[in-house]
Symmetry: C2
DNA sequence: GACGGCCGATTCGTATACGATTTCACCGGC
DNA sequence: GCCGGTGAAATCGTATACGAATCGGCCGTC
């Protein structure tokens, strides 16, 4: 996850330190969406001046993790409903493609590991914990797309996961039924991969899987909304 | 294109100004890949101190337009062959999806405009100018995916175009035959859209179109390389 | 009592300053 | 002649300082 070279002398610049520190705290939900990031305060907490903090925030801003308003300041990005939908749709496409591209590069061990994770997902259904489920779910999918030989695509997929942030768990807390369905789809996906199914089929399955999660979320949040176009042009 | 609010008083901060200025100069190939960006020099040219320049460069760094090495400095990112391939592959997927998602939202005028651009592309084949061809080509595709209702996807597609930067023209300069084929595929794509073809077909056509450009580039640059997997899991 | 303007506190934006690190040319020894 | 050390120049990293913009509350007026 750490892209910076890990110098043995731990010589991360303060700017880098601020960046990683903020990013972690956002990922850990210690800084929740909407939380205001005051430059001077952050600088104090981290024991540095504002300059490195500003740079860190610029990077986070470019990644979409924080929003910045001139002369007003930065705050942790809120993902509203509409953004959530758009990000999920994008992730469906990217992750679907990445999973397909990775399929032929998966080792038997990878598949075994994915199966094990899905087993744990199934087991977790007993005493359902959205947080745990989401974490395992991420790890499951990570195993499947990590072998994608296109690093650019991997970076985008990961960035989209981060963007969705903790909001993603809410789907499973809101729509519990989706979890059961989800693990079944995981098995199907694994089956396709093991069987060496056409990449198009794998891509379609992976994409639909995520789209279904999005649909579950939407139909729960906006039950009135017309189903309209599914957004995913899978063949009929 | 400008995401910053256009204040009537033109009150862009220096940091923003530096960012846009550098980005434009990179896009215009005034700053070519590998070009070193010395903070003090850039600051002088723009009539500001180094602090805003640093922030601008952080943003560009996060976008992948410049690479930054600690205690060494920034330089305009070089896209090597492998990155070019990966970005094109990613763009094929993203643009294909965006084009499909946009298809149902295109007005008759949009289609007319796209046709007109393709006409100009065809006309330009007479006295072939890779630069002009690339520019028109970008505009053609922009018309087709701009109506995509997913802003996140649009942002990623645009960012990928920028990333490829001027390198993208090289395909058409290196493999002149590809240009003719390309405009024919444009017509086919337009036909599908006008006919209200299934979104899956449109997506497949748009994706294959770009993949073919990539393949043309690769087969010219690396004629020895085995064709291997096409990378695009289109149904047989 | 409501509204609008004024003022101070807060916070951002940028310049300047200076120590730290890298780079590279030069030079003496092997 | 080649190699490794040494110093200065270039450049980066960060702290500090101060002007500018924003926001919220207070006060006077209607």
């Amino acid at each position: 996850m750490a892209r910076e070279p890990v110098n043995e002398t731990a010589a991360r610049s303060k700017s880098q330190h601020a960046y990683h520190s903020l990013k972690e705290r956002i990922a850990a939900e210690e800084l929740t969406p909407g939380h205001r990031l005051v430059l001077a305060s952050v600088a104090n907490e981290l024991g540095m001046s504002v300059v490195p903090v500003r740079e860190a925030i610029r990077r986070l801003e470019a990644e979409g993790l924080v929003t910045f308003e001139r002369n007003v300041g930065a705050r942790v990005s809120m993902i509203d409903d509409s953004q959530y939908r758009h990000s999920m749709e994008t992730l469906a496409i990217l992750e679907g493609a990445a999973t397909a591209l990775a399929a032929r590069h998966l080792t038997a061990d990878d598949v075994r590991q994915a199966r094990e994770l899905n087993r744990r997902l199934i087991a977790s259904l007993e005493h359902f914990d959205p947080r745990l489920f989401t974490s395992l779910n991420h790890r499951f999918h990570s195993v499947l797309f990590a072998a994608c030989p296109n690093p650019r695509m991997l970076a985008l997929v990961e960035s989209e996961w981060v963007r969705l942030g903790h909001l993603r768990d809410s789907t499973f807390s809101f729509v519990p039924g989706r979890a059961q369905e989800s693990v079944r789809e995981h098995e199907i996906l694994l089956g396709l991969i093991e069987a060496g199914a056409p990449l198009a089929d794998i891509e379609r399955a992976a994409r639909s899987h995520r789209s279904a999660t999005l649909a579950a979320y939407l139909s729960h949040e906006h039950p009135d909304e017309a189903p309209g176009e599914p957004g995913v042009p899978t063949a009929p």
